[in-house]
Symmetry: C2
Amino acid sequence: MTRLLIVGGSDAGISAGLRARELAPEVEVTLVVGDAYPNYSVCGIPYYLGEEVPDWRSLAHRTRDELEAAGLELLLEHTARRLDPSARRLAVSGPSGADGTLAYDVLVVATGARPVQPPIAGLDALGPGEGVHLVHTMDDALAIAATLSEGAVEEVLIVGAGFIGIEMAEAFVHRGLGVTLVEALPEVLPTVDADLGRLVRDVLEAHHIDVITTTKVTEIRRSGTTLVIHGTGGLERRAQLVLIATGVRPDTELAARAGATLGAGGAIAVDRRMRTNLPNVFGAGDCVETYHRILDTTTYLPLGTTAHKQGRIAGENAVGGDRCFAGSVGTQVVRVFDTVVARTGLRAVEAEAAGWHPLTSASTLDDHKAYYPGARTIEVRITGDVPTGRLLGLQMLGNLATGVAKRIDTAAAALHHRMNVGDLSDLDLSYTPPLGSPWDAMQSAAQQWQRASTSHGS
Amino acid sequence: MTRLLIVGGSDAGISAGLRARELAPEVEVTLVVGDAYPNYSVCGIPYYLGEEVPDWRSLAHRTRDELEAAGLELLLEHTARRLDPSARRLAVSGPSGADGTLAYDVLVVATGARPVQPPIAGLDALGPGEGVHLVHTMDDALAIAATLSEGAVEEVLIVGAGFIGIEMAEAFVHRGLGVTLVEALPEVLPTVDADLGRLVRDVLEAHHIDVITTTKVTEIRRSGTTLVIHGTGGLERRAQLVLIATGVRPDTELAARAGATLGAGGAIAVDRRMRTNLPNVFGAGDCVETYHRILDTTTYLPLGTTAHKQGRIAGENAVGGDRCFAGSVGTQVVRVFDTVVARTGLRAVEAEAAGWHPLTSASTLDDHKAYYPGARTIEVRITGDVPTGRLLGLQMLGNLATGVAKRIDTAAAALHHRMNVGDLSDLDLSYTPPLGSPWDAMQSAAQQWQRASTSHGS
């Protein structure tokens, strides 16, 4: 009997445990979970707080009973204190503060990430009790819900207009609150090109969100029941709730203190079999670096989909498998009201930094044959390497009805296989007039890129 | 100056001409078009006849002016009579019956297909004037419209429940007509597995279409203003309009008489550069055989998407290019009211005939996280080869909102790259709770296939 110990009860940890049990039902799998919410969909928090999902309990991918029925032993509200890889022991403390030590044969570190605290004066002194929140865990979500339920919140200010900041802005609008969104960079959703970011900003503003870019929040102070927020460029706002959504950093403390090498973005270094440098210790999810298939190097790109994949591989290899992580191509999607924005692969600025000679071409294409009622346009941005023609990335924006989220998946599959832009037209994609065109929008955009690339090169 | 002559003005012919002019603007491109409707979307005919598309003229992918502006010379209502490859001449007759001969340097045969006439007694004597129709050309469409506009049609009977028969059934329902759909095989839409066909049949019946399977129409007679239809199993129906939708065969007469070798399905044999055996004669579209990328052999699989691809390659190679057709993977999609059915690759029965040892697993999966409102199920059927694990095909059925048409494209891209079922979980597909799951439905289905395959093999 082997004992697999997993530190972390979110996507990566649970995936590792389930996969290990699937392949080796005789293995004893124990998960050390920091909070009381194993296997929760933290990506679903904005929809709970926006009251689209009425009960936070439904955010659980699986219930505790289901996890236990699958053979996972859960130590909830336990904190991993010290990892000793040479002795194969993990010191933990439980909810009552009682300490203990767990022996293991193989361990998976899946400690996730922690929110970045931006350098804002006054922030250290303010917590959920004062209306200043993070949104990273179920505890954070319940704290926001508690603040909102007090009924005094009319205005919300969000620091950071990335995926989470934008999703939360929409959630607060759903609740009828006034929302200000402050972003340090020149455009919202900086993970896509600024011209697409501009279209997202238009959507946010159409829903009465006050979007302020190129502005850093510098100070937050409490004044009676109100928070007073100051920032660069003379920003001054008042709000009853402030949300900090400025990204995450890997939670590496446990592993680093045990001697784990850190890699890209300060995350735990792992090979493609998800092995750390520590003997019998694997790592997966937001605490480890991610092999990027297009860059062919590691990067820090914490995403739930990647955590599931890495966890599954760590779990398989922990019980004697030999599977490699195929790599991320950086696929991301967000729904902003009725608009969907998606990307996969690299943008020109990222590709250029990696040594390519990229060209991005912009196309506006119908989602289906225009003669059939209801056709809408999709914005497509294709980035390719001019000398080689290699496809490097694709960005899309369109109405919910245009299928952008699934169209980007076809591009992700093409990137996975390192296709050239010109070869996208070879793909045998589906067509019926109400749902597409004989040349799919991506293929038409690829043909436009080829023409632009030819004139660019000449 | 080279003269490129193209016989045919539909998808393949137009694509060939446009691509040739794009690459070699000095080439003179002339298209011999049998009717007055070059570059029409014949796939759109059901939506025009169903009155979702008000004006049939909008079915043109491009107007005649646009085609001429792109440098294509059009000889409309001209019939190609005789091809002489040794002299590089094509005899044609025009609308007034006047004969002529055209010289060429390179020729592309894109003569398309013709409807199959099933062996039904009385059929030869009945035409559009008597209410018996085909639906293959714009002339056919306008003839049906004329019959319907006479106002006497209350009941329609359709012979054949493939894609076209089903789309036309829906069109007639949209017009408030009573519809009977007769299929010789045991289930409708025989291009997908019968269990999915059964679900399509449920949709049709829910819209009051009388679906009759395992039944052959044997006789059609006119009785006054009514057509009397008899079939096997005692079938007897009356209708004012009968539509024959029993498939097509390649139109090879011109090329065959000139010495072209015929191949799969009796279609004109071509290599992957779209060359026929005749010197300086290329072929593309519904008149030629299609290289199937999974079967690694040629087949007859006439589809608009394939015609566009083959035409583009023929046009490129006709002006000195050297591009190969990458092959079809057999991707098809149809919308049936609010349901979408799609397939790509091979079904088990087809794979078995080709020497594989296929297993098809059936999964019913949510289109997005169930906690977010509006989740709907998708039926997924994955077919893989048990000994090698190779992905052979995928079928899906779901509501319009589930994105099935674009999801099948990701599977088509995976098939294009000859992936294994087990490797589908490596694809970095997009995820946000309102639109997907951390493991995409296809990936969850693939993991289910792997489990089924393991127990199948043991």
